[in-house]
């Protein structure tokens, strides 16, 4: 009987808690019934017989699988395509970020290439499973709570040929490559700001050797800004995802783009016009590095540029984000 207990345990272990007891009783009954039939044919209830019966029932894994029914997958066919697409984008972005970081560090400091390479390997081993895990978790939750799936199936049931959307005008379509490139770019930016914002500045070289960076940003205050910056980039990524899903310019998409861009504009404006965003010692840094000398023409030019950098950045942002909206608007109106 020990073998039977083990079998029942092995099956029920693989089933949801709520069904275990019921199925255990049922299985035990079944095995006893099958044994009884064999004894009836002439013979004793031997270990060999028990083994035969269990062989007939098949492995506990298969048995449990049959009890669980068809839904033994994490991400079903409805979500699979978008899962693979998002996964590819994320992994490519992570890959580029890692290789990029390695390349930049090596250029800056070629002597320690071995250390950089080890760091690269270590971060690859940790970052890729993380990216994979988060994407999978997101989709698995989507699958589990099944919001998308129920909706999609319903749509398919009531499907009629008249519901086929018109083929979008070639000018209205959004090439898949555009949002994908944008997402990759934002992920790289996130990586840059998140892990190496101190490299964001002017690189100083002396005799061809890297000696330091004169940072553009205020390193002491930057951690306060970073969450906003990362959220902003995340918002941009959501925007690009919407473009990717939509595949064509629609009024809805333009409205979403507008909202995201306006929010972004406000955040960027408040952030970079505040006193503490930029490095207050930038000019001093330039002087100390011997790049410019006080009182010379070069110094004045640099100072003018540095003082106007905020205004210029705001204007560049406004133009770029407005163009994003106007471009969409024009494309929607095209017939």
């Amino acid at each position: 009987m020990e073998m039977v207990n083990r079998y029942v345990y092995a099956v029920t272990q693989r089933l949801p808690q709520s069904q275990r007891e019921d199925i255990a009783i049922e299985l035990r009954g079944l095995i006893e019934d099958m044994l009884e039939e064999r004894v009836g044919d002439g013979g004793n209830n031997t270990d060999k017989m028990v083994e035969e019966v269990l062989m007939e029932l098949g492995s506990p894994r298969t048995m449990a699988h049959k009890y669980r029914g068809s839904k033994s997958y994490l991400i079903g066919p409805e979500l699979y395509e978008s899962f693979i697409l998002v996964l590819k984008i994320v992994l490519i972005s992570v890959g580029i970020t890692l290789v990029g970081a390695f390349a930049i560090k090596t250029v800056i400091n070629p002597v320690e290439i071995l250390d950089h390479f080890i760091e690269f390997i270590v971060s690859t081993v940790t970052a890729i499973p993380q990216a994979l895990g988060w994407v999978t978790l997101g989709f698995a939750l989507g699958e589990y709570y099944g919001g998308f799936k129920a909706g999609d199936l319903k749509l398919d049931k009531n499907w009629m040929p008249s519901m086929l959307p018109p083929i979008p005008h070639p000018k209205k379509t959004i090439k898949r490559s555009e949002p994908i490139i944008a997402i990759v770019f934002y992920v790289i930016l996130m990586g840059m700001f998140g892990f190496s914002s101190n490299y964001f500045g002017i690189f100083r070289f002396s005799d061809g050797e890297f000696v330091g960076v004169i940072p553009f940003l205020n390193e002491a205050k930057f951690p306060e800004y970073m969450p906003f910056l990362l959220l902003l980039l995340a918002l941009f990524i959501v925007k690009e995802c919407l473009k990717l899903i939509s595949g064509k310019w629609t009024m809805k998409l333009v409205v979403c783009t507008t909202v995201v861009n306006l929010v972004a504009l406000m955040v960027v404006y408040f952030m970079i016009t505040s006193q503490s965003f930029w490095n207050p010692h930038f000019m001093e840094g330039l002087m100390n590095a011997g790049i410019v000398e006080q009182g010379t023409e070069g110094y004045e030019i640099m100072e003018t540029i540095w003082k106007n950098v905020t205004g210029a950045t705001v204007i560049i942002f406004i133009v770029a984000l407005l163009w994003d909206i106007v471009d969409g608007m024009i494309k929607v109106r095209k017939k």
Binding site: I23, I25, R28, G29, L57
Partner: protein, 119 residues
């Protein structure tokens, strides 16, 4: 894949649907799992218990079967019987089955007569 494997695979798909009808047909009176295996076996329908037991639970969950535990015997047994929904579903399935059988028989038995179709 050789010929026999193709046949096995196709037969598996073919049986899957017919087993449900077979099971429903025998449940106008209550049966427990193993008695149903024997009953179907006697009538030439072979079902593995490992297939039948989960199937019974699934049909119960879908509301086609009602179940009750009988604890009076030496070992507790779960008896299944057609529910009201189950009865009407079974009747409609029978009609569908008959129509499939006659259509397919038509196709198989008259395959030479109608080569050019009706167009």
């Amino acid at each position: 894949m050789n010929e026999q494997e193709h046949i096995d695979k196709l037969m598996l798909e073919l049986r899957r649907g017919t087993i449900t009808i077979g099971v429903l047909s025998q449940l106008s009176s209550p049966q427990y799992g193993y008695s149903l295996v024997t009953l179907l076996d006697e009538k030439g329908i072979h079902v593995e218990p490992g297939t039948l037991y989960p199937l019974l639970r699934r049909l119960e969950k879908q509301g086609l079967l009602d179940s009750s535990w009988d604890t009076n015997e030496a070992r507790p047994r779960k008896y299944y019987v057609l529910s009201e929904t189950g009865k009407s579903v079974y009747e409609q399935l029978c009609v569908e089955w008959q129509s499939i059988v006659s259509s397919l028989n038509d196709l198989i038995l008259n395959k030479g007569d109608d080569v050019n179709g009706d167009g």
